[in-house]
């Protein structure tokens, strides 16, 4: 079957964002400050892995080389991943994890809202299903940003530091490179620049409620969509891919 490279790349970007952040959240399992928080993080991770499964299986079909979601998740190397930089950032402390979740989920919620109108049936269906779940992620993380920001001296300092760590990865979320532009023109992808204003307004409103200042703008880090990643992603993949690579036919 002839592949559709544009669809393949579009689905990879979506799937890799969800996969990598899902894996990161899974690292918290058993380590969160309380059992309730542990459950929240694991369940958000589960939602994201679910999205990734749908996106990457569809990507495999679009590629037309017989790879399925598992093959794409477990048998690609770091340079072939198309996730944005933000999702591969280390968990840090709980505040840093929540800062990342807030900045990412707020964006993903708006993105999926737009993608429900995608001309691609799979993308539209997954977006329509997942948008309700991601609304929860965005709300939950916003509440933590507020609680920690408007909390004790220490929680406030930690949340400010978490936001400061993640801030330089926000511009990449709104980057419209050639491929994204073509995908938007074909109606399968979204023109993310259209909701930049809504995003900035929402972030500002939550930060105001958290009595936090927005971090100073920093030099943006770009390139994840083209396979340029930081040193953290390789380590994440080593953990995630070890078992299926070492025991290729392993089953539960």
């Amino acid at each position: 079957m002839a592949g559709d490279p544009l669809r393949f790349e579009t689905l990879l970007r979506l799937g890799d964002d969800s996969l990598i952040l899902g894996q990161r959240l899974g690292e918290w399992c058993g380590h969160a400050p309380s059992v309730e928080v542990d459950l929240s993080l694991a369940n958000m991770g589960l939602d994201l892995i679910g999205q990734a499964t749908h996106f990457l299986n569809a990507a495999g079909v679009a590629e037309g080389k017989g790879r399925d979601g598992d093959a794409l998740a477990f048998h690609r190397d770091v340079l072939d991943f198309r996730n944005c930089w933000m999702v591969e950032q280390p968990n840090g402390d709980f505040a840093q994890t929540m800062a990342r979740q807030f900045l990412f989920s707020t964006w993903q919620h708006m993105l999926f809202g737009h993608l429900t109108g995608s001309s691609d049936e799979t993308i539209a269906a997954v977006a329509a299903k997942a948008v309700k779940e991601v609304a929860y992620h965005a709300e939950l993380s916003a509440e933590w940003v507020i609680r920690l920001g408007d909390g004790t001296e220490e929680s406030r300092a930690r949340m400010a530091a978490g936001l400061d760590w993640m801030w330089r990865f926000v511009p990449e979320l709104f980057e419209m490179d050639e491929m994204a532009t073509e995908a938007a023109a074909r109606g399968i992808g979204a023109d993310v620049s259209r909701f930049r204003g809504d995003y900035d307004a929402r972030i500002a409103a939550v930060l105001a409620e958290a009595t936090l200042e927005a971090p100073n703008d920093q030099r943006p880090i770009l390139g994840g969509r083209r396979g340029h990643h930081g040193e953290h992603l390789g380590h994440l993949l080593a953990v995630m891919q070890f078992l299926p690579r070492t025991y290729p036919d392993a089953t539960w």
């Binding site: 899902g22 309730e36 928080v37 459950l39 929240s40 694991a42 369940n43 958000m44 589960l46 939602d47 994201l48 892995i49 679910g50 999205q51 499964t53 749908h54 049936e121 539209a124 269906a125 997954v126 329509a128 299903k129 997942a130 309700k132 779940e133 929860y136 939950l140």
Partner: protein, 151 residues
Amino acid sequence: MVTTLSTDALWQVLEGVPDPEIPAVSVVDLGIVRAVSPERVTITPTYTGCPATQVIERDIRDALDAAGFRDVRIETTLSPPWTTDWISESGKAKLKAYGIAPPLAAGERAVECPQCGSTRTEEISRFGSTPCKAQWRCRDCLEPFDLFKCH
């Protein structure tokens, strides 16, 4: 006539398949079964990442096979997305009897404790034992309970 009879029998089989995580309700009660024809059963996952989805498909397959419906296919569809509105009234009653507060209907605000019926209740955690549930607590009988989240 034959068609009517065979889908009735299929529905009956499906009503006997419990949800693996909430065995008090069937996959039909939960609205997971979207359509039944003599050729295929169409199901939909509750949550995108619900780990029970694969178990549910296997359980339905086993039940269909055991009832002699080996040639009935199972298809999974994401669209339209599942919502808690698809849980049947009897499903909601069964959830409550099992100790899980059913999802609130449109316009309903107070979460009722499934143990004592009090509406003096509060959220403990937005996520509970499964992605589809939140943890709540009753301020009268002090029991914690799961709330099936509106979705």
